[in-house]
């Protein structure tokens, strides 16, 4: 079994292609070495599964449509336990169903990528309409304290490159990574240069290679990422969702339990520089800063251009890594520009704004802008709210 590598990209995945966001996610995953996909049909994410069903057999991978969302999450974790890079895709209701097994992957540190194409909720909601209502579910959907990474692409090109990054982060840090699209990005068609992908040197998972005797599957290493034993390599270790010590077996020893849980969350703090990603537009002197993700950030980008043309000092801060939230970069952008006001447009009743308020803690006046009717926020709406805030 060879480690997944960008160099081993299939020849079909080159050149400029017109793709929709969901297809780009699937092709990005394959480009990054994903060779297993389990899923269940759900609007508006089904094209990820359909693309995987078509493309994975060509590269020696495995696709399976499972009996439900829970099963597909279980199968993905099972494949990953076997040493194969694995992904699933879903939308709100399915994402809710996957949460228990997602928590297992957090606790047992099993790499996996979950694409969640957000639609209107709660419950069945508006399956074909866009929303951004899963911002907090993506962070806190499973029970208990846990570490998880969430990436939020705002274009088809980013759906491709961020899914590659999702695989890389998941494999190298042994943590589940959620690729959080909204329905618009998932179904938007744009041109993507499949070849223009930076070579990521460390995409391969750290597999255990040392002595079998006395092997500790969850040993505390310097980088806090324990090398993963691959079945068949002779380690014969145990893996459980129960709180476990370095030996992988359940423990109720308070000191061991606390240390084990703390390591999995400290891991993301230690590697924060690699995980964090954000984009800034005209932030240098911004009186008002817009913070937005996904399609709302696309609308905000136009709003910034329009407002700048009017002479208003408005900028855009777009977290690409949504969780862990790029808090220091946001604070620095606000401090550097002397920003007075922050506007957070989002397609929910106010989720991202809570994090922005927490991060800025009074450094600037924060206001939200919500839309929950199944329509996207328009540049004019955002510009109007910005003008109002700057009055």
């Amino acid at each position: 079994m060879t480690a997944p590598s960008l160099a081993a990209a299939p020849p079909a995945l080159t050149g400029r292609r017109n793709l929709e966001g969901n297809e780009a996610c699937a092709l990005g995953a394959i480009r990054a070495g994903c060779r297993f996909f389990a899923g269940y049909p759900i609007t508006p994410s089904s094209e990820v599964a359909e693309t995987m069903a078509r493309e994975l057999p060509k590269v020696g991978g495995t696709f399976i449509q499972m009996e439900d969302e829970i099963a597909s999450m279980g199968a993905v974790i099972g494949a990953s336990m076997g040493g194969v890079t694995a992904m699933t895709a879903t939308s709100g209701p399915g994402f809710s169903l996957k949460q228990e097994n997602l928590g297992y992957a957090c606790g047992a540190e099993i790499p996996c990528v979950i694409v969640n194409v957000m639609r209107g909720g709660p419950s069945t909601g508006m399956p074909t309409r866009p929303a951004q209502g899963d911002i907090l579910q993506a962070r806190w959907g499973t029970h208990g304290d846990h570490a998880v990474i969430v990436l939020a692409p705002a274009s088809v090109g980013e759906a491709y490159s961020e899914t590659i990054r999702a695989v890389e982060l998941s494999e190298t840090l042994r943590v589940p990574v959620v690729v959080l699209l909204d329905e618009v990005i998932g179904h938007l068609t744009e041109t993507v240069d499949l070849g223009a992908v930076p070579e990521t040197p460390g995409i391969a998972r750290p597999f255990a290679t040392g002595p079998r005797e006395g092997f500790l599957p969850y040993a505390e290493t310097a980088d806090l990422v324990p090398p993963m034993p691959r079945p068949g390599d002779g380690y014969r270790s145990h893996c459980t969702g129960l709180t476990h010590g370095p030996d992988g077996f359940p423990t109720q020893n308070p000191a061991v339990a606390a240390a084990a849980l703390t390591r999995t969350t400290d891991k993301l703090v230690l590697h924060r520089a690699r995980i964090e990603s954000w984009r800034e537009q005209a932030t240098e002197d911004a009186d008002l800063l817009i913070v937005a993700i996904g399609i709302s950030a696309r609308a905000a980008r136009q709003a910034v251009k329009d407002l700048r043309a009017e002479g208003l000092k408005v900028g855009l801060f777009r977290p690409v890594t949504l969780w862990p939230f790029p808090e220091t970069p946001l604070r620095e952008a606000v401090a550097a520009a002397g920003t007075r006001k922050v506007l957070v447009p989002e397609m929910n009743q106010g989720q991202l704004v809570l994090e922005v308020e927490r991060v800025l803690a009074g450094r600037a006046e924060v206001a939200g802008l919500s839309r929950i009717d199944g329509e996207t926020l328009t540049p004019d709406e955002i510009a109007g709210a910005a003008r109002e805030a700057l009055k």
């Binding site: 057999p57 060509k58 009996e67 279980g74 199968a75 079945p231 129960l242």
Partner: protein, 282 residues
């Protein structure tokens, strides 16, 4: 004639397959799960499966805790979902022998849908369901396999729901190997588990275990030997079919190999299809 039974018994030491540092185990005195575990490891031994190639996937409950005692690649997963983890693992790693250990609650209640579809798909996994008719780990609640009238903590006046035949369900859903045995017949159980492991395709084995401490005590079923003998007497080997004892034991459950069919194994079928696609591409 070679006495293979004695030979196997002599060469098999269950301690070779157990993680000694995990002992003592946590099972209650009289619990049938230990017998089932021994029979399973004996069958693994007889099938000549190297421990490095053995993957044991378990769910949640008393049965789920057994994987931790086995010196192999072991995965203690989520409640009701071990078959889903095992499906991903086996598809990703066809070189591994994947055995699922599950319980009646894990497999038939919360995990019932996964069982049906694992049977239908016919991926080469051996599913061993330890049926003790109760949720033991959580303190003795009613399970889909609890008999009518039985007392549990959630049926204080007696169970008013019927239980059902898990083997009939598995066979109807397409499992290509289905069998049932009691822990009182450890040699027969070992043989059945060996046949299930050797079978190419999805195999389902129901092991009639006993929960003496919680279920037996609450229903005044006696200690472990009494419970096991009662189960044994309620069984009728499938080989007898509809012969002599039918009029006398009308409700007897059948044991032994109940279903064995030869249909395509899912993993092989998928790989053949994928290989054909790759060849067409080139």
């Amino acid at each position: 004639m070679k006495d293979t039974k004695t030979e196997s018994a002599a060469s098999f030491d269950v301690n070779d397959y157990l993680r000694q540092d995990r002992m003592p185990h946590f099972l209650c005195p009289g619990c049938g799960h230990g017998i089932a575990l021994r029979a399973l490891l004996w069958a693994v031994h007889e099938q000549g499966i190297p421990k490095d190639r053995l993957a044991v996937v378990s769910g949640i409950g008393c049965s789920g805790r057994l994987s931790a005692y086995i010196d192999a690649n072991t995965f203690h997963t989520t409640h009701g979902r071990p078959l889903t983890f095992a499906t991903g693992l086996k598809l990703a790693r066809p070189d591994l022998h994947v055995i699922v250990i599950t319980g009646d609650g894990d497999c038939l209640a919360i995990g019932g849908n996964h069982l049906i579809h694992a049977c239908r798909r016919n991926l080469d996994i051996t599913c061993v369901m330890l049926n003790n008719e109760i949720y033991g780990m959580t303190g003795g609640q009613v399970s889909p396999m609890t008999a009518e009238g039985r007392f549990t903590t959630t049926t204080p006046e007696g169970n008013t729901e019927p239980n059902f035949d898990a083997c009939a369900l598995a066979a109807a859903a397409g499992a290509s190997f289905v069998g049932r045995e009691v822990t009182a017949q450890v040699l027969a159980l070992k043989t059945l588990l060996g046949q299930a492991i050797a079978h190419e395709g999805f195999s389902f084995v129901e092991v009639l275990s006993d929960c003496t401490e919680i279920y037996g005590r609450k229903n005044d079923l006696g200690a472990s030997p009494e419970m096991m003998l009662a189960k044994k007497s309620a069984m009728r080997p499938y080989a007898y079919r509809n012969t002599v004892d039918v009029p006398f034991r009308p409700n007897a459950l059948r044991t032994g190999v109940l279903t064995r069919t030869d249909r395509p194994e899912y993993g092989a079928a998928w790989r053949a299809m994928a290989a054909r696609i790759r060849n067409e591409e080139h």
